[in-house]
């Protein structure tokens, strides 16, 4: 009997060994695989267990956290949600994150290892770090001026500081309240469906993620190509351009809205926005030169991050000469985001140098200690300083004598370019009104700001649509805010 009892005890011992081996399998060997299963809610619970870090504008948080008391505890709140939605994006327990909330999620949620000196210690002790704060480059006054200027009309504004690339305003209109998506539950689902199904697409970030035909504002790029290539050396010399201009290889004749465009010198052609002159310049410069210049300004770059991804602006590299002629005046397949056109204006204002745009000034931990500075990528020369000087002359001329008069500011040197872009099948859609501009103090040396404005449904009367009429006043308000000028003339 004793022998049998010992055997039974040995058998029990085997059961114990089996349990221990299996426990080690589940808790150590397979633990990571099980933990990575998206159905395990622990990741989400840990993520929302503490307040999320804040996004700050001018040092003041525009986001907050609300204790929901639920299992996913903290929900995102927004102050001035619609105003800053194109900057912050949303942070939803149901639908994830977008824009800055997504790009800086590691910092805001506390997961980023840069928030601690000893990440391995935090992992060992299972410390849940508090989220860090993201300080944006946005200027609240300019943001509000741009938002008020659009006044709910479909459109967008992007403003950058030419010298540094700091993005000062980023507005998309109509906007939405991101806070309605923060939590989880039926109300959030309904809000999500409503926002996604809305005809005016309030969740579309028109400043970063929508491209428009830039229309006549693209003539800045064409003029830059002409000046850089030496095709035009004197902006006051006649250009030998017919009016109307028959597109090469077709019978299509391109006309002008302005008068006196035949053989007009570059200065006049730019001020009056003569399509014929720029279309012909484009074909003369050739596809290679035009595409290279556009690329140097930032077109066809699908890697631009601010740190939210920016939709690439496009200038085709394969087309015939007639298409090239149209592309040179910002039509055909040429398409640009408002941010891209603000970059074009910034290059002109900044002596031909492009400072890559960025939206995050610095990142701090919960205690305010700086974790990382903004990107500060080096500026690159897009056009020579002399060309930039000539382009500045052309653009100031537009504001002083041409179609951009409504952007003028007292005591400020303002350069601008209007645009009215045709689009839709056979150009039947409502044209887009564009205005790009930059400004600096009359006695100042550094340019203060470069702005791009696009208004989609500019006015009911199609004949009235113009960059100068609808978009320029918005740009003016934004520039005035940048220069701390009052809204008056």
């Amino acid at each position: 009997m004793i022998r049998c009892i010992r055997h039974t005890a040995a058998f029990s011992f085997l059961l114990l060994v089996a349990l221990l081996v299996n426990a080690a399998r589940v808790q150590v060997v397979e633990a990571e695989r099980y933990g990575a299963n998206p159905a395990d809610r622990r990741v989400a619970i840990a993520r929302y267990a503490k307040p999320r870090g804040a996004v700050l504008v001018d040092g003041r948080p525009v986001t907050g956290s609300r204790d929901s008391g639920g299992r996913l505890r903290y929900e995102r709140t927004y102050t001035d949600g619609p105003l800053y939605a194109p900057v912050t994006g949303f942070s939803s327990q149901t639908y994830g994150t977008s824009l800055l909330e997504r790009a800086e999620d590691g910092i805001l949620s506390g997961a980023d290892d840069r928030l601690t000196a000893f990440p391995w210690w935090d992992r060992l002790t299972r410390t849940h770090r508090r989220g860090g704060d993201v300080h944006t480059t946005i200027n609240a006054r300019m943001q509000r001026a741009a938002f008020a200027g659009l006044g709910g009309k479909k459109g967008a504004v992007a403003a950058v500081e030419p010298r540094t690339g700091r993005i000062l305003a980023l507005v998309s209109s109509p906007s939405y309240e991101p806070g309605v998506l923060s939590g989880n539950g039926a109300a959030v689902d309904e809000a999500w469906r409503g926002l996604n199904g809305a005809a005016r697409r309030p969740m579309l970030n028109r400043a970063l993620q929508e491209t428009y035909p830039p229309g006549s504002t693209f003539k800045v790029v064409t003029a830059a190509a002409a000046l850089e290539s030496g095709r035009i050396t004197d902006i006051d010399a006649p250009t030998d351009a017919p009016d109307p201009y028959t597109l090469p290889g077709t019978a299509t004749r391109l006309g002008n809205a302005a008068k006196d465009c035949e053989d007009a010198p570059l200065r006049y052609a730019f001020r009056a926005s003569c399509n014929t002159v720029f279309a012909r310049l484009g074909t003369e410069l050739g596809l290679r030169t035009m595409a290279a210049t556009a690329r140097r300004f930032g077109f066809d770059d699908d890697r631009l991050r601010i740190p939210s991804p920016v939709a690439p602006s496009t200038f085709d590299t394969r087309m015939d000469r007639a298409q090239l002629a149209l592309s040179a005046i910002g039509q055909y397949d040429t398409a640009a985001t408002p941010l891209q056109m603000a970059m074009v204006a910034a290059v002109v204002a900044n002596g031909g140098q492009l400072a890559p745009p960025y939206l995050v000034d610095k990142v701090t931990d919960a205690g305010g200690v700086m974790v990382a500075a903004g990107p500060h990528r080096p500026a690159r020369q897009v056009v020579g300083p002399a060309t930039a000087q000539q382009l500045q002359e052309l653009m100031t001329d537009v504001v002083e004598h041409g179609s951009g008069r409504r952007a003028a500011l007292k005591g400020v040197t303002v350069g601008g370019k209007t645009g009215t872009a045709q689009h839709g099948v056979r150009n039947e859609g409502m044209p887009y009104a564009w205005f790009i501009s930059w400004a600096r103090e009359k006695d100042g040396y550094e340019p203060a700001v470069a702005v791009a404005v696009v208004v989609e449904d500019a006015a009911a009367d199609r004949a009235d649509i113009s960059g100068g009429g609808d978009a320029a006043p918005i740009a003016r308000a934004v520039m005035a805010a940048a220069l701390r000028r009052g809204p008056g003339r």
Partner: protein, 475 residues
């Protein structure tokens, strides 16, 4: 855990000295271990409060006093009536029960409407009282042998009782009366073990006699084997009818093991394993409920892939995985995601998540200690009934822990059962305290000075060796 071998400071001057040379009784060791067990439990209780509310739980003192008082009463009873009892049994049981109360209290925080810890404490009190009663009233375990058939009858009665009551969560294992609900099957398992041990002890010489020979196996005479097989079959059949598959598995295991120990024939193990495999395969394919469990075991994450979300087993595995080596800390896990049965069948998942592999290993070793002390008592006794009862009472928790822990950790298909002492459930706690009481009684006899007790006539005979020679001769 070297108390049995090491600690010398046990002979208490206050005790009346036994007539023979002083044998270490080690009651002082037991008391010290009990203090440790109560302290660990109270600390766990405090840690849960600090981790969840950053404050000591209101009832910490009452809880500590309650558990400590129960432990002290039980200790006094042992000191009085079982002075030679194994000093590890009672502290291990108190620690397991205390940890169970901590875990249930911790899970109560996740279910605002349902407070199970006070009820569990109440049942634990009942259990300790019964423990004391058994230790005080049962002077000699051999008395039980006389009531073998009473035990069997009572067990069958208890098991049959739930048939009259409605099923709860798919199993007809409950008896509800006057606001209380008990699981009579829990008590039945002790009674049936007593019966098995008594019957096999009384007949174990007869069992060695060769009866018929079936497929190469020497069966004992049907006259001897008949009654026990009949009762065993009836009980398993009743349990299968009630869908209490865990308990029927337990009965099966205890029966096979005791038959093996009583007869010394390895063949019984082979037959038992064969029957178990055939039975499990049959039930696993034919019974839809069990079939689902088997499917779940094979593919714990199938529900996620099909969009139904994680099932309970998947949630349990997530909880264990989240615990890792060291656990999240008491009160800081999310095993509440398991939902239904998180305080009973799945309570081990909370243990694994919040105390990690380290805590789980310690827990398994505590159970192993309990089981090992049961075998130790069985080995120390020289009456067959006592030895068989000791083995039976050791095998019961060993199998039960293996089946439920293996089930919730994906080692074997899940079978609903209570983790001894740990899981919510009054019947289970009370039964386990009775098991501890019987083990204390057995170990007291095993360790007490021999000449002090009068011996029944057959006691001195060495375990008759019918096994090896008989088998050898038969072949």
């Amino acid at each position: 855990m070297t108390a049995t071998a090491g600690a010398p400071a046990t002979a208490r001057p206050a005790d009346t000295p036994p007539p023979l040379p002083l044998l270490p009784r080690r009651r002082g060791v037991e008391l010290a271990l009990l203090v440790g067990a109560v302290l660990i439990s109270v600390c766990g209780y405090a840690v849960v409060g600090l981790a969840t509310h950053h404050a000591l739980p209101g009832g910490a003192v009452r809880y500590g006093a309650g558990l400590g008082g129960l432990a002290l009463l039980a200790h006094l009873a042992v000191r009085l009536r079982a002075p030679y009892a194994d000093p590890l049994l009672l502290p291990t049981a108190v620690l397991l029960n205390g940890l169970g109360l901590v875990l249930i209290f911790r899970l109560d925080l996740e279910t605002p409407g349902d407070h199970a810890a006070p009820t569990q404490l109440m049942w634990s009190t009942v259990g300790v009282m019964l423990f004391i009663a058994v230790v005080l009233l049962l002077g000699d375990h051999r008395v039980l042998q006389r009531y073998a058939y009473v035990c069997a009858a009572l067990a069958l009665l208890l098991m049959a009782a739930p048939i009259l009551f409605p099923a709860v969560n798919g199993a007809k294992i409950w008896v509800r009366a006057a606001g209380f609900s008990i699981q009579p099957g829990e008590f039945a398992k002790v009674l049936i073990t007593v019966f098995f041990a008594a019957y096999l002890a009384a007949n174990h010489t007869a069992l060695a006699h060769v009866g018929r020979r079936v497929v190469g196996l020497q069966l004992p005479a049907g006259r001897v084997l008949g009654p026990i097989v009949a009762i065993w079959l009836i009980s398993v059949a009743v349990l299968v009818l009630e869908r209490d598959l865990g308990t029927s598995l337990l009965f099966f295991g205890v029966f096979v093991v005791l038959l093996y120990v009583a007869t010394g024939r390895t063949g019984w193990i082979a037959v038992g394993l064969l029957l178990a495999v055939v039975g499990a395969a049959a039930v696993g394919t034919l019974e839809p409920h069990v079939h689902g469990r088997v499917e779940d075991w094979q593919h714990p994450f199938a529900g996620i892939a099909e969009g139904r979300g994680p099932g309970q087993l998947a949630q349990s595995l997530f909880a264990f995985a989240a615990g890792g080596m060291l656990g999240t800390g008491l009160g800081q896990g999310h095993s509440a995601l398991i939902g239904f049965a998180m305080k009973s069948d799945f309570i081990l998942a909370t243990f694994g998540e919040e105390l990690g592999l380290a805590g789980l290993t310690a827990l398994f070793l505590l159970y192993a200690l309990l089981v090992a002390r049961g075998y130790r008592a069985a080995l120390g006794l020289d009456d067959p009934f006592g030895s068989l009862l000791g083995v039976g009472l050791a095998v019961l928790p060993a199998l039960q822990v293996f089946v439920i822990a293996g089930g919730v950790m994906g080692l074997i298909p899940l079978t609903g059962m209570a983790m001894p002492f740990l899981a919510q459930g009054g019947s289970s706690v009370v039964t386990n305290w009775i098991i501890i009481a019987l083990l204390v009684r057995l170990s007291d006899r095993a360790r007490s000075p021999r000449p002090a007790t009068p011996a029944p006539a057959h006691r001195r005979r060495p375990a008759p060796p019918p096994t090896a020679p008989a088998q050898g001769a038969g072949r």
